[in-house]
């Protein structure tokens, strides 16, 4: 029986974005990481190019997160308050491909650390690991604008991923990214049009398109995942259909969002039908991460070492299909 493989002809291509900078490029990273560049929906190797596998970052903190689960404390308890050492552990022991430094402690109500202090922590992590960095902030604009400006300055040339700006505060931080050669995350609240609008605003200030990563805002499993999932599918479909203002690689936060929810913390005695807490904590993050890569995520910031190991292994396996034998023709 003759079988016709139905293929979609996409005219769009997702923007390639390179993160980090080696010494030749003005930074100190041992290598750079590139995401994006695909011309078909995620993992559909038979109908388009997928030059880069989704990448997994792990996260370190300038302040112990308020609801950090016990299960994760078992892995990181001794280094949780030492971002440099924790970053090293994430990279060397757990295979993190990038490190996100979450600067929540600079929030006026969560420690109010100064911009200088934040810059010092970023410096410290830059020195302790050689992978590219993500600098993750918060939504207290007045403060984070100053913090990010300072961080951009001290990390000049490192091409960090500055995470994030929103519609109401993009200018200062975007300008700092241009001045000190960093890449930027444009975050919008689970909405295709708002996402597009922010990318247009950035383009209007001549922000280079190869320096933009989108964050559609992660709802974790059971807490709005379906919205994030469908918005990402729509963004990716539109991007591949030729809408350049939606054709940027996407970042998601399965780690931070999954480790905050009840399911990561509540013991089995309290909810026997929820099963073992230690498993649940990893499962929640794995399921969130796997469904979001299927929807188009290319950069995942994760927390649970077991989740990182599992998701990375699956991604490598799936991308191995590009070489070797495949029952269906694929292009690379």
């Amino acid at each position: 029986m003759s079988l016709e493989i139905p293929k979609e002809a996409n005219i769009g291509k997702i923007q390639k974005v390179t993160l980090g900078a080696t010494s030749e490029q003005g930074g100190t990273r041992s290598q750079t990481i590139t995401i994006g560049g695909s011309t078909a929906l995620p993992f559909l190797f038979f109908e388009g190019q997928h030059p880069h596998r989704p990448v997994i970052a792990m996260e370190v903190f300038d302040k112990i997160p308020g609801k950090y689960p016990e299960t994760l404390m078992d892995y990181f308890g001794t280094v949780i308050d030492k971002p440099g050492e924790m970053a090293k552990k994430c990279v060397e022991q757990y295979g993190a491909e990038m490190i996100s430094v979450r600067l929540e402690g600079t929030h006026p109500e969560k420690g109010n650390k100064s911009a200088d202090e934040a810059a010092r922590i970023v410096k410290q992590v830059l020195e302790s690991v050689s992978v590219p960095l993500i600098i993750t902030g918060h939504s207290y604009f007045e403060k984070i604008n100053a913090v990010m400006k300072k961080v951009c300055e001290v990390a000049e040339g490192e091409n960090c991923l500055i995470n994030y700006v929103e519609k109401d505060n993009y200018k200062t931080i975007a300008a700092a990214c241009i001045a000190y050669q960093h890449t930027l995350v444009a975050q919008t609240p689970i909405d295709v049009n708002l996402a597009k609008q922010l990318n247009i605003l950035l383009s209007d200030m001549n922000f280079p398109p190869e320096k933009i990563v989108m964050d559609p805002l992660t709802g974790t499993l059971g807490y709005g995942l379906e919205y994030t999932y469908s918005i990402m599918e729509r963004i990716r479909n539109d991007g591949l259909a030729g809408d350049k203002m939606l054709a940027f690689p996407m970042l998601v936060n399965p780690g931070y969002e999954s480790s905050r929810v009840k399911e990561a913390r509540v013991p089995e005695q309290e909810y026997p039908e929820w099963g073992k807490k230690e498993l649940r904590c990893a499962y929640w993050e794995i399921s969130t991460a796997m469904s979001l890569v299927v929807a188009g995520a290319e950069l995942l910031i994760m927390h649970h070492p077991k989740a990182v190991e599992t998701v990375k292994k699956k991604l490598v396996e799936m991308f191995d299909l590009r070489k070797g034998e495949s029952p269906w023709p694929y292009r690379d």
Partner: protein
Amino acid sequence: MALSGLEIFKLLPKTNCGDCGVPTCMAFAMKLAQKKAELSECPHASEEAKATLGASSEPPIRLVKIGGDGARPLEIGNETVMFRHEKTFFHKPGIAIQLRTSEDEKELLSNIKEIENFKVMRVGEELKTDLFFISHDSEKMEDFLKLIKLIKQNSSKGIILDCQDEEALKGGLELLKLDRAAIFLRKELRDQDLDLARSFNTSLILTASSLEELARQAEKARQAKVNDLILNLESQNCGLKLQGNTILRRSALKKNFKPFGYPLFSFIQGQNEFEVLAKASVFLCKYDSVIALAQFDKAMLYTLFTLRQNIYTDPQKPIQVDPKLYPIGEPTPESPVFVTTNFSLTYFIVSGEIENSGISAHLVVTDTEGQSVCTAWAAGKFVGEKIAKFIKDIQLEQEIKTRKIVIPGFVAQLSGDLEEHLPGWKVIVGPQEASDIPSFVKNVKLT
């Protein structure tokens, strides 16, 4: 070529007898045009109608039922879109748990009971497994029959039979005459499998490791008039299966390629439970209609149930939480009171942020039919009178002493209105964004 409702109507008896379950022939024609019904549901359709409508009246992916003696069968398939945002995914995938006849009988009985009793509530929905997947891996035929009987005595869930021994399989099917079991074929489809499917009214799960092979087997079954099929594209690599499932679904929906117009299946085994979950998550998002698991792991099932609930909710219809009073932390009668709507995302975010702020509080969640704050306000469902009535209905005033209530900042305008309907209460306008609740509770006196 798809026919319009009117074209189909001309071919129907036009008697409005209602035997198809729809009151008029016109309404039935419309359902046929939308591929939400099948012509076989009309007992009086002429041969001409059957011939003309034949292919075009069949839904692109067939609805297949498993289970049913006394219970509601699991219905799978009949999906119409590639992406949930295009419309919705209609029929939630069934989750099956494997039981093996080589296991000890006592053990099996306790497993069956545990699986049968396992239920989780989430956002007002009871979540549970749907099917048993029986693998006959012992020597004796009676082990197989015994296990089937054991399940029938203790559970109403549907059954998938995984059995290489023909005699045993036949015996099992005799026991399951009214149950619409499914037969899982590990090997290539044979004529005797088709005979069994026909005589026992069961569905067949066809297995192949390539699309061509799967198409060939499905075509063979179709020609033998066995139409309740489920397709299992076998692959160790979840990327391969994801691509295969995409091609299967696309061929059915976009090309109307009949051999692929059936629900899809996976049996996921493996030592590493984390990888099993990772695969199951991918297959749940991308088109599997039955997922069989070798292990009964509550944490994994709760995770998968939640993913299934998320992916299979109607994107046009917000999910709701029960309208009622929710305690956050351990509130006392003197704790602060917040009010919001019962759109589930609103509830999750607001309750999460109150929890983040470290205080204990009462959260009043009113019934806005799942609409968010601004939408509900605009629709008149989140206004002073309704909120006040709800507070009276749940007897909040008897339960707590606080007489201040925090409303969402976006509906500041209803504060006067609410105070008017809630004598003795003072309304405090909260922040517009839930993320500002932690700082708000620090700076404003709420009791």
